[in-house]
Assembly symmetry: D2
Homo-oligomer: 427 residues x 4
């Protein structure tokens, strides 16, 4: 199915008056504080967050999966799903492919399909944490870090193949997430495993097109429960530095030990020009992959505070990071979940944008902790939702995407089209 | 396959001399310290740890599973596997069934098969955390706590059915682990959910045979990532108290928040006469379900220190807890993993048994922290492995079970018998 | 110093117009959603949060303390400080005394002084975690749980004495926080220590006036770093049940292990009618005692969601809990810190009050996790500050307490009055 | 007081026979496994662990301190205390000074005093986390990272002064631990603070003698509770790399977030040639600074496994790290605590030394997790205490240092000499 312009228009017509009232009030309030509302609305409209191809189906845990209905059965239908999201919020105009779950057989057709929805191809993701039926060697004990040369070579070749797919689609980056590690003390030799990982990454790096980036993801645990080769930002940063200027660290919000100050990591990486990508989700215990902003919205805001600080810093070498949602939808409708996640991201972004940065720097220079807190909390406590709605309105998106999604009975119609038992690939 | 007595004997003959040398040295040392070595060896020989029927196959994570080979394809083969373990260490003489993964079609035949291996039936486990094809209602949003009456009734009935299976096999306890909870703030009403859980448990309790126990397991998170209805020992204890004297709390080592002092929980529950069951495993991050003693052997020892203290307390009302291993074998051969786990449990038990408890109490009464530490660490630092070997020798088990397992090429022979692709049910 | 009515009036006159504009907009918005704004403003105006007598000075850590200036040098000056807070926000009309840091020599004079500021006496706090010069026995190894009878008796007597002070001042509750525990495994016998604690508490309980409550606080660690006798809500709840209907559990937000779902504990305790008191603060790592709402404002809101749910439940036996701030002001001016804390508490309360509870229950009954999240997050995302300002306006408090505090140069004047080197008792 | 050779001899004479019996048994066992016992005993005898000058008094928490008795009142008496330890175990032949707590007024006299006890001067420690009465600027809001140039300069100068003291005493390293950070989000600008810290460190580095090292310590939190400028090994490593080849990372076991895999950090740093120093202690919750090996002895062993692996690696550039105990003795006698700590360190070292490394590498190369675990756990389960005793015997130390300490009533005699109320400087 496709959401038509007239459906958006009808919906917006109903919400328009209420929206005007709220937006005008907020705009007036912010302008009084010296904030250029138009600039902010434009920035919000411009922000595009990639949707990973695996996030369109119901997720699960090791205890099982409770399937949803009407899930996309093919890459084409996944693109269709993202098309629906993008039509609703005009903020999801990119897809991040996962190989081999979503191998584009006919790249031209796929590109043209995506293009019809205004969707571009973000970073491509390799997978060496699962065994595919056709492969010769198992990744049970690692891939790029494996003790056997043959396994490493297979994993290196897979990454190079993923780059090739990405080139055909117009991607400009490769994301490498390694689950390599160990479940038991002494199972793996830390030093040798890290050295082998570096060697493998260098082989891949050598095949990276000159206008590409490679993102090195880190994670402390899961699916390995004692150690992970790339366990933290320090290790990823070490590897990225050894690889070269096209290599960057990728931060996934869920990949940290309890109580980690993630916003500080973001600041440090941007200062060093090495923050390449960002995976959004939320969590209370581990890598729970919940809806963005559903557990710790203030932390999300503080992270955006650093992202905005970094992106507005003229002295920084850091490129604009690649944004992606990386969540698992175990109990919610995946599309509804993604709509909520995008909303939460943009709220945090908007709140960070209305911070009076000059005043904040002054309070920081004076060590006025009370004032600094007032400044950032005042931004956080502001109801910025009208700014997002206005940005959507100007982009011809729905004023209230989730409401329209439900009113149009999108899922019901997808079930009709695809059947109840359709199951998407994913976690 | 079956391990024959002569194979054990041949093996023991080879290790005998070395064992005698080590055991005699240790026995002499301990006797000099006033410890009755024979009593301890007898206690070690008597300890039986149940093996759950789902732990005989390779486990996995939400990211997939790397299958092993020669896994048991039926309940009969699972019993055969435990028979192998029990022949090797004479400490695994019980099986804990999981319904519906292992429904015993012909209970007489199953009982007689188990009996042929000297295996009895420990607590039976219900499963309302997964949907079975035949059930009417989904447990996606809970079972005993579900907001809909029909779903709760289905879950209650399932538990009653599990009790019936257990009665036929000679079990004397039902273990209830609920994954019920929520993934998002406000998704579930805490109070109503807990009240409904209590109501459902009371229905089950009403059907419990008078010589049975019911164990209420608790867990802070996973597979739900925001809340779990029975999140901690306090909640389980509250429920067990409301249910009555046949209801107990079950402690699973992996089901705690970071840094929890589990040994103190054990002590408190035993003091209140409410510690019913114990699930062994080990973990570094969450419910990692690793080999017992592979990560925190000292914590395991401290827990056994409390268990021994509680079991030897004449004033306590607490029954001897039901012991079970509850681990997931993702990278190790399941049988080897279980052999290592049983060994670790018995080492911790032996270390706790050689603590000079009178001296410890005196140091505690005097607040002599240095002395108290010396006493328990001296026990922990003692190499008690010869005590375990001696207990095995006296029980006609193998002096070195894992060595014999490998020498007999047990897995290779199981693969021959069962095929490479056999896959067991489990996590 | 004292803040005069005309100073409040002058301040409010300046902010009035802007406030009207914001409040009217919000009131209209909320009324459209069917919310009775007046009721909420009244509830906000009625909420009083006790200030502990020890929180008016600069706090510190084991690494030292960086003193502030102009701190109160006596109980009288502490009451004066709270008087300043209460004049500014009319929400701090209670003081919680800590004995022996703040022994009221002349209770009549103290009562009358407090009364002149409209301040009442909240729960009194005993202290058996530090040694006083005059005491016979040391609490180094515990107080109510100590292995020696004499030490326990001394601690029991102290608590009874604290009750006597409280009676003279009009308090109606005793808060018992025990630091009793151990730093090393086996240092303390868990079972004996818990039994002795219960015995001691029963002695104190026997002396509790019939219209009093006793609050049992729990904490997992610090200042003991291996175990604490009352380590969690389960232990406190167990003790409160054994003591009787005047005994309750007290929740301090900072006293939980990483990732604990505190809001669920609140719901369970209220369901059981056993939530007696609440200590507010915020933290990222341990018991950091930071400004309320400075780290996890969403968690605070979710807790208030449960508090409101519990307080509005007609079937509950739970009394209205005693509210108190329990924070440590290491880098901020204590009074500014307290103003920010009270504001954060009332924001969370206001957000919880505007939740459409009927709709929420319906979404929960339908397991509509998306809808439930929309409902609570919509409340959280609403800028409720105008409601607080309106409540202050109606109570003759300052529209913007912190701004007025700074404009009046309160601290500067206190330094003039009290001197630079004045140091308050506290942590 | 001083412990005389004859006192050691008398003591050893009593324990000799028992020791011979145990050592001979163990030596025979290990030799049968192909281990060169003599080499190991020599390595154990050679290991010297520095004692920090601040660890000789009773420690405390923010809730207070329960003083011990007979604590050293001067640097001279601290050296005397370490002399006692060293006489007992011959493993504590180094002192690590903390400036300004222990400024050596007369360096020649101090050097000669230390020399009389066979004690050398290890790394010197600067202190910019507390204010001294004589300093012009406060470190309340930071030192090397402070927003004001004057404060940074004062802190830089202090470090340079500490180097000067160190040079006079024969130290060869400066340890920099910064508590700099913030208690509230946005209080500090992460990027600017890190840049300023780097600038300050470069100034200090420029004054470092060419044969010196500088160690950069990291810590996630405390005394700041939101952020710390040097929060993790990655940040320390980044700084050390920018400083140059004389700069190294220092690992303190207590300075990690929950569940951190510290042994992996050790391996990575040694691989990069950047592990400079090591602070030993143990902890369950935070930076608890408990007796080494009292909580997680297996983790300590796994760390030593990496240290031994790194030190025996011929390809590594890593220097031998500087070892120091950094603990706080809140409830134990400081000297007894230190004796237990040194013992625990050497036990872990001995266990790591008896690992059959060739076999382990083979198991690792084959991904034989079961075998790898057997190898390391077999070493850990071995009772290596006789190796330590033998090393002490050969070094003319006491066979059982703690027993002798108690038998000689050392503390009682120190109290007689120094008085009951003597209080040492420290945490």
């Amino acid at each position: 199915m496709k959401i038509e312009k007239y459906q958006i228009d009808q919906h917006n017509y109903l919400y328009e008056k209420q929206h005007e009232r709220k937006f005008n009030f907020l705009a007036e309030t912010l302008e009084q504080e010296g904030i250029n509302v138009n600039t902010i609305v434009t920035k919000l409209a411009d922000l595009q967050i990639a949707i990973p191809s695996w996030a369109l189906g119901t997720g699960g845990t090791r205890f099982g999966r409770f399937s949803g209905a009407g899930e996309p059965r093919s890459l084409e239908e996944k693109i269709e799903d993202i098309g629906l999201l993008h039509a609703l919020n005009r903020s999801s105009g990119a897809i991040s492919l996962h190989i081999p779950w979503d191998i584009p057989e006919n790249t031209d057709a796929i590109k043209s399909l995506a293009s019809s929805y205004d969707i571009v191809f973000d970073a491509v993701n390799s997978n060496t944490f699962q065994d595919q039926k056709t492969q010769n060697y198992s990744y049970k004990f690692g891939s790029l870090s494996h003790s056997q040369k043959e396994v490493r070579q297979q994993a290196v070749n897979h990454n190079i193949e993923v780059i090739k797919y990405g080139e055909m689609l117009g991607s400009k980056a490769l994301t490498v997430w390694l689950s390599d590690g160990s479940c038991f003390p002494a199972q793996q030799n830390f030093k040798k495993a890290l050295q082998r990982t570096l060697d493998s990454l260098q082989e891949i790096y050598a095949c990276l097109p000159t206008d590409w980036q490679i993102f090195i993801e880190y994670k402390p645990y899961e699916p390995n429960f004692y150690s992970t080769v790339i366990q933290d930002w320090g290790t990823s940063f070490l590897l990225a530095n050894k690889l070269g200027h096209q290599a960057y660290t990728l931060v996934d919000l869920g990949h940290h030990l309890p109580n980690t100050n993630i916003e500080q990591i973001v600041a440090t990486l941007m200062m060093e020009g090495k923050l390449g990508g960002f995976h959004f989700n939320d969590s209370k215990y581990g890598d729970d992959d919940l809806t963005v902003g559903s557990i710790k919205p203030y932390q999300l805001f503080l992270i955006f505070n650093e992202l905005v600080e970094g992106m507005e810093d003229k002295n920084t070498q850091n490129p604009v990071p690649a944004w992606m949602i990386d969540a698992s939808h175990n109990v919610k409708d995946p599309l509804e979940d993604l709509l909520q996640s995008v909303e939460a991201i943009k709220i945090a972004y908007a709140q960070a944008l209305i911070i009076n940065r000059e005043m904040l720097w002054e309070a920081q220079d004076n060590n006025d902790a009370v004032k600094a807190q007032e400044i950032v909390q005042s931004a956080f406590r502001t109801d910025v939702r009208p700014l997002l709605a206005e940005a959507r309105k100007r982009s011809s998106a729905a004023l209230s995407p989730l409401d329209l999604f439900r009113k149009l009975e999108v899922r019901k119609r997808l079930v009709t089209e695809r059947g109840k038992l359709a199951i998407a690939t994913g976690l």
